[in-house]
C-alpha cells in the first residue's frame, strides 16, 4: 500500500491556520493560569464561591466526562512538564473508570478506564500524596492528567524506548541499559513524527492492514494530520513490506522498524515510555 492509496485529511499548514493554533494555545494557557489562580485563592473553579479547602476533591458525574482514548481530544488536559524526561518505569492501570483531574484533587476534565484497545496501561510521570500523574492517549500530544492512586493497579516496566529522529535510530533499553538499536523510517518533513514523551498504547493485529503483522499504536498523534485512513492520526510502531524505507523520512508519522525490532518491541509491556527526540 502506498501513501497515496490512503485517504487523509490534511489539517492544513497555512499561516492563518498556524496563527489560529498559536492563539488558541495562548488562550488555553491563560485559562489554565486563571484556573490555578482561582484554585490557589481558595475558590470553587465552577461557582467561584470560596471553599473551605481548595484542594478538596469534588465528586464528579463520570457520564458527563469524555474518556481519554486515542480517538478523543481533551484540550483541558495539562501539558507534559518534562517531555524529554525518562521515568523510573512505573505504569498504572485504572481498576475502574475514574476521573482525570488537572491537579491533585483539582477540577475533573475527563475520565479513563481499565480497557480501551486492550488493557489500559499509562506511564507515571509524577506522584503527590494520594495522586498519580500519567501521560494520556488522547489529543493533544503531551496530555497528562492526575488520577486518584487508590483506584490504580501499579507495576514497573523495565523497558524504555528512545527514538532519535535525526539519526533515524530506535533504541530499546532494559533497566537503563541499551539492549539493541535499529535504523528506522520516520515521518516525512510535512508529516513528521511528533517529538516528546509518549508510550505504547496497544498491540494490535489489524485485519485491514497488510504492511505489519503486529502494530503498536502509541499515545501520540500526527501534528499535521487530524485524521488518517479513517483513524484519528494515531502514530504507531510497525514494520513495512520493504526495507528501503529504513533510514528515510518517508512515513506519514509512524515509526517503521525492521522485523527483528518488532519481534523484540512486541514483548515490551503496554505503558512503556517512548521518548522521541530530535537527535
Amino acid at each position: 500500500m502506498t501513501n497515496q492509496d490512503i485517504p487523509r485529511t490534511p489539517r492544513g499548514d497555512s499561516a492563518s491556520t498556524r496563527l489560529a493554533y498559536v492563539l488558541s494555545g495562548v488562550l488555553l494557557v491563560a485559562l489554565g493560569l486563571v484556573a490555578v489562580l482561582v484554585l490557589s485563592a481558595g475558590a470553587d473553579p465552577v461557582t467561584g464561591r470560596p471553599t473551605s479547602n481548595a484542594t478538596s476533591t469534588k465528586p464528579v458525574k463520570l457520564s458527563s466526562l469524555v474518556e481519554s482514548t486515542t480517538h478523543t481530544r481533551l484540550d483541558a488536559a495539562p501539558a507534559d512538564p518534562n517531555p524529554q524526561q525518562a521515568t523510573k518505569g512505573w505504569i498504572v492501570r485504572p481498576t475502574k473508570v475514574i476521573a482525570l483531574r488537572v491537579s491533585p484533587g483539582g477540577r475533573a476534565f475527563g475520565k479513563v478506564g481499565p480497557k480501551q484497545i486492550g488493557e489500559t496501561w499509562l506511564p507515571v510521570i509524577d506522584q503527590r500524596d494520594q495522586w498519580t500523574r500519567v501521560l494520556l492517549p488522547s489529543k493533544p500530544n503531551g496530555s497528562t492528567g492526575w488520577l486518584r492512586s487508590a483506584h490504580l493497579k501499579r507495576t514497573l516496566t523495565p523497558y524504555l524506548i528512545r527514538v532519535h529522529l535525526s539519526s533515524m535510530r530506535l533504541a530499546l533499553f532494559y533497566h537503563g541499559r541499551e539492549m539493541n538499536s535499529w535504523t528506522i523510517g520516520i515521518g516525512k518533513p510535512d508529516t513528521p513524527t511528533p517529538i516528546g514523551r509518549t508510550f505504547i498504547l496497544g498491540s494490535i493485529v489489524d485485519p485491514n492492514q497488510t504492511y505489519s503483522p503486529i502494530i503498536l499504536p502509541l499515545g501520540a498523534h500526527s501534528e499535521t494530520l487530524d485524521s488518517f485512513g479513517g483513524g484519528p492520526g494515531t502514530v504507531a510502531i510497525h514494520t513495512w513490506p520493504t526495507t528501503d524505507v529504513l533510514g528515510t523520512a518517508s512515513s506519514n508519522g509512524c515509526i517503521r522498524v525492521p522485523q527483528e525490532a518488532l519481534n523484540q518491541l512486541t514483548r515490551v509491556p503496554l505503558g512503556t515510555l517512548v521518548l522521541v527526540d530530535q537527535h
Binding site: 496497544g202 485485519p207 504492511y211 514483548r267
Partner: protein, 287 residues
C-alpha cells in the same frame, strides 16, 4: 597536637532515597521473575569552599554516584586573598568519604581582603595596638592590655606576649588563623574529625574536645570557628564538616573539610508485566 575522633549522628532518613544511579542484577530481558536493583545515594567530599564576598567553589571535590572509589587532590586553592593551603586530598566511595587538609592559613599576613574591609576594623585595631605595645621596655602588660581591647580574656590568657611580639615583628606577619591539619571522615552511620595545631596570629591555642559543633575559639569580634558539624541529609546521606569559619556573623563562611556518606540500597523490583497479547481490531494508524 590534640586529635579527636568522635562518633557522629547516624544517617536516619533511609526512606528518602534519591536514586542517582541504579544497577540491576538478576533476570534476563523479558523474564518474568523479580529483579534486584541497587540504588545509590552518592557519597562526596571536598577540601575547602567559601560563600560570601570571596566565594570559593568546593576544591578539590569528588563524588561517587555508582559505589566506585573516587579520589581527588589539590596542592592549592583557586586564587583568592582569603585562604591558602598546601595539600588537600579527598576520597569518596559507596558509603564512606574523607577529606584531609594540610597547612591552612586564613587571612595570610593578618590582612583581610578588600571585599571584607567592613570586618577589618577590629583586626586593624588589634594590630595597631600591638605594635607600640611590643616596642615597650617591658612589653608583657601593654601587649596583654592591647589584646584585651579586642579579644576576650580566654584567648588572651593563651597567648604569650613575648612570642606574639616576636612573630609580628618578623618580616612576614602570621596569618590571622593557621591550622596544620584538618581531617574529616564518615561512614554510613558516623563521622569523625581531627584537628591539629590551631594558631591565632601565630600563637597556638588549645583545641577543646570536639563535641558536635564545638566552638574552637571563645566568642570574639574577629572570627568564629566551629568544629565537627554533623548533619543528616534529606536523601538519607550524612555529612560531617571539619571546620566552619564565620567572618562577620555570616558575611563570609568558609568550610574546611567536608565528607558526605551515602549508601547503597538493594530493592526487589516487581516482576515485569508479561508481553501484551495482540488484539485483533481495526485502528488505522499513520503508516
Amino acid at each position: 597536637m590534640r586529635p579527636r575522633a568522635l562518633a557522629g549522628a547516624g544517617a536516619t532518613a533511609l526512606g528518602a532515597v534519591t536514586a542517582v544511579a541504579a544497577l540491576v542484577i538478576g533476570t534476563a530481558a523479558g523474564a518474568a521473575s523479580p529483579s534486584t536493583a541497587i540504588e545509590y545515594v552518592p557519597s562526596s567530599a571536598y577540601g575547602i569552599a567559601a560563600e560570601g564576598p570571596v566565594p570559593i567553589d568546593p576544591t578539590p571535590h569528588v563524588e561517587s554516584t555508582d559505589g566506585s572509589r573516587q579520589e581527588n587532590s589539590a596542592l592549592t586553592v583557586p586564587e583568592n586573598p582569603l585562604v591558602s593551603l598546601e595539600v588537600a586530598k579527598v576520597v569518596a566511595d559507596e558509603s564512606s568519604a574523607s577529606a584531609e587538609l594540610l597547612n591552612l592559613a586564613l587571612a595570610p599576613g593578618a590582612e583581610l581582603p578588600d571585599q571584607l574591609s567592613a570586618l577589618n576594623e577590629p583586626l586593624q585595631q588589634l594590630m595597631s595596638g600591638l605594635q607600640p605595645a611590643c616596642e615597650a621596655e617591658n612589653p608583657a602588660k601593654p601587649v596583654t592590655d592591647a589584646l584585651g581591647e579586642v579579644l576576650p580574656s580566654e584567648i588572651v590568657e593563651q597567648l604569650d606576649p613575648q612570642q606574639l611580639c616576636a612573630s609580628i615583628t618578623t618580616a612576614e606577619t602570621p596569618a590571622l588563623v593557621s591550622i596544620e591539619l584538618v581531617k574529616v571522615a564518615c561512614d554510613e552511620k558516623s563521622g569523625s574529625v581531627e584537628i591539629a595545631n590551631v594558631a591565632l596570629l601565630g600563637q597556638q591555642v588549645a583545641i577543646p574536645p570536639l563535641e558536635n559543633e564545638t566552638p574552637i575559639l571563645p566568642e570574639n569580634p574577629l572570627v568564629t570557628i566551629t568544629a565537627n558539624k554533623q548533619t543528616s541529609n534529606k536523601d538519607g546521606s550524612f555529612t560531617v564538616v571539619g571546620l566552619e569559619i564565620d567572618l562577620g556573623g555570616g558575611t563570609e563562611v568558609i568550610t574546611l573539610g567536608s565528607a558526605t556518606c551515602g549508601f547503597a540500597e538493594t530493592t526487589t523490583l516487581p516482576p515485569p508485566p508479561p508481553p501484551p497479547t495482540p488484539v485483533t481490531t481495526g485502528l488505522p494508524v499513520t503508516g
